[in-house]
């Protein structure tokens, strides 16, 4: 399978990558626009020797992932915005119990039932916590089917490395869109070993060792504070080491377009067209939304430089708040966004950029 070229949707690519990463457990509940993912898992997970369960709710799905991870297995669930809202309790418990897990959110427009068109309005929910308590989730934002595959492989590595929930944050367009992709994973064996990999902290039976307890409860106030400080140290380490971004034409740019996921594809195309006209536009695409790539913003935003960041989102302004924090007032930050099914067009981005280049 390795290095084979295939044509598939983002949803299927994420599912295939999960299996290639050794994910042995998947639970999910149907919701549009991510149904190809659960469908792929239903078909292929049992063939790989793993466990697939269609749960009675997203609440149950995330708690099944909690159990699978507590038992030492690489585990994943997927959903779309309203379903992810329902999972927040479980995600907080996963963070609190320091369990690795991969959660895929193929975002649709909200609030409420909203509609099934693509959107990016769950940014706050993914990167700022979402559930209760002081916790963070690593959040990866693919912008192509290839990257959806690649980042899913990374998501499982990061989840295990840091014992943390990792989000794949895509949108309905990325999930449904078909593109060619090169399968770069290690290649899946015909039949997976039925036994989940055992991790030394996991609850898998205490033969030959002291019993393990997987928990997030610290009744004594001092104990919880100590644990929380340990979590914060872990988060600082992640922020220092794991920031990722893609850049184009940033060195001499006067307006840098900042967008992630599907939106970055359109922004990139706008930058190419602006460059053809000799306009000094650039692109900064965060790949990790948490940790937010602050370092590159810090480097670019210098007080004496007349630089503008134009943040473009399929939301009414969520990531733009992190851009503002990252530039620390040393550059102008502007925003262009639509949500509810609409996507800022290439033309709208070009016009706004031209306007900003004038003043």
């Amino acid at each position: 399978m390795a290095h084979q070229k295939v044509l598939m949707s983002g949803n299927e690519a994420i599912a295939m990558a999960a299996l290639d990463a050794g994910c042995g457990f998947y639970a999910g509940y149907p919701i549009t626009p991510q149904n190809e993912l659960i469908g792929y898992m239903a078909k292929h997970m049992p063939l790989s020797g793993g466990v697939f369960i269609q749960s009675e709710s997203e609440l149950s799905a995330i708690n099944m992932v909690f159990g699978a991870s507590a038992a030492g297995c690489r585990a994943m669930t997927s959903s779309s915005s309203p379903g992810i809202s329902l999972m927040q309790e479980g995600i907080s418990y996963i963070a609190g119990a320091e369990l690795p897990a991969v959660i895929v959110n193929i975002m649709r427009a909200g609030p409420g039932l909203g509609n099934i068109w693509p959107a990016q309005s769950d940014y706050f929910q993914a990167v700022k916590g979402g559930g209760h308590g002081d916790y963070r989730c690593i959040t990866l934002a693919p912008s192509s089917v290839q990257e959806a595959y690649d980042l899913t492989l990374s998501a499982f590595e990061l989840a295990d490395k840091y014992r943390i929930p990792v989000f794949i944050l895509g949108d309905g367009m990325l999930g449904q869109m078909m593109e060619p992709l090169t399968v770069s994973g290690p290649g899946r064996p015909e039949t997976r070993d039925q036994r989940p990999e055992t991790k030394e902290w996991a609850a898998s039976g205490c033969a030959g060792r002291k019993p393990n307890v997987v928990k997030s409860f610290y009744l004594n106030m001092g104990d919880l504070e100590k644990f929380n400080l340990k979590l914060q140290e872990k988060y600082k380490g992640i922020q220092a080491k794991e920031q990722l971004q893609e850049t184009a034409y940033i060195d001499d740019a006067r307006v840098i377009l900042t967008a992630y996921g599907t939106m970055a594809r359109i922004a990139k195309s706008a930058v190419e067209k602006l460059r053809e006209k000799g306009k000094k536009a650039g692109l900064l695409r965060p790949i990790t939304l948490w940790p937010f790539p602050r370092k590159i913003f810090n480097r670019l935003a210098v007080s004496d430089k007349q630089l503008t960041f134009l943040t473009v989102e399929m939301s009414y302004g969520q990531m733009v708040e992190d851009v503002q924090l990252a530039v620390e007032g040393k550059a102008r930050v502007e925003f262009l966004g639509r949500s509810g099914g609409g996507i800022p067009s290439e033309e709208a981005i070009i016009n706004k950029t031209l306007q900003l280049l004038k003043n």
Binding site: G67, G90, G205
Partner: protein, 242 residues
């Protein structure tokens, strides 16, 4: 000299946090004794609840996973599917199993998951201070039914065991009383059967244990045991339901 009694290996050497007369300690011990007798301590994984028994892992000497309130059977389902050779059980109270976790309970049972459930019914929420539970009796006073539970506004006590017994996926359901020496022996036998069923891959087995909560029943411990036998038993009769 012949040794006639020794420490239950599946119990840790710990002081109890439970109130005097509470039934949790009895149930914890019975489970530990059964696990020792079946020789499965090293392959047991317990799923502990939210409620007074959240720290059951401070007493049990085997692997434990703490679940969110009501989600025990979702967590247990995943563990058992991944470790079919291990013994997985949930320990859940009435609020956990029959209120907030009703969906997880019914669906795990309906899937026929090969799990053991020890369901502690004491008709109140203990950890939060004695509020109404789904199993609170009509007329019973709790901090959220200060005038006594009324069927008109709070509905009837939920007989979740009888409800689960209707599902084809459920193998065994039994109700016992932890109210007397005899009741405790019967409870132990029922718990042992429920674990044996799992060992023999027979499917979903649940034991409902009527258990005393003197603190939130506002009664002395001895009177609480009488209340199980005389009052609670009318709504929740003991015996094999399935």
């Amino acid at each position: 000299m012949k040794k006639v009694f020794s420490r239950t290996k599946s119990l840790r050497d710990a002081d109890t946090h439970y109130c005097p007369g509470c039934g949790h300690g009895i149930a914890h011990r019975l489970i530990a004794e059964v696990i020792d007798e079946l020789g499965v301590r090293e392959k047991t994984i317990a799923v502990t609840p939210v409620g007074c028994a959240v720290v059951a892992y401070d007493y049990w000497n085997f692997d434990c996973v703490e679940s969110a309130h009501g989600r025990g059977l979702a967590v247990a389902t995943a563990i058992k599917r991944l470790h079919p050779d291990k013994i997985i059980f949930t320990y859940q109270g009435d609020g956990d199993l029959a209120a907030i976790g009703t969906a997880e309970t019914i669906h795990a049972a309906n899937r026929g998951e090969n799990l053991t459930v020890v369901f502690i019914n004491n008709t109140v929420y203990g950890m939060t201070g004695g509020q109404m539970a789904p199993t609170t009796l009509i007329g019973q006073k709790t901090t959220t039914t200060p005038q006594g539970r009324s069927a008109r506004t709070e509905g009837y006590p939920l007989k979740i065991s009888e409800l689960l017994a209707q599902l084809p996926g459920v193998y065994s359901v039994e109700r016992t009383y932890a109210d007397s020496t005899q009741g405790i022996f019967k409870t132990k036998a029922a718990i042992k059967n429920a674990f044996k069923n799992q060992l023999e891959n027979k499917g979903f087995s649940l034991v409902e244990v009527l258990s005393a909560c003197p603190t939130y029943w506002n009664m002395p411990a001895a009177e609480s045991l009488e209340w199980i036998k005389k009052t609670m038993s009318k709504e929740f009769p003991a015996g094999k339901i399935k």
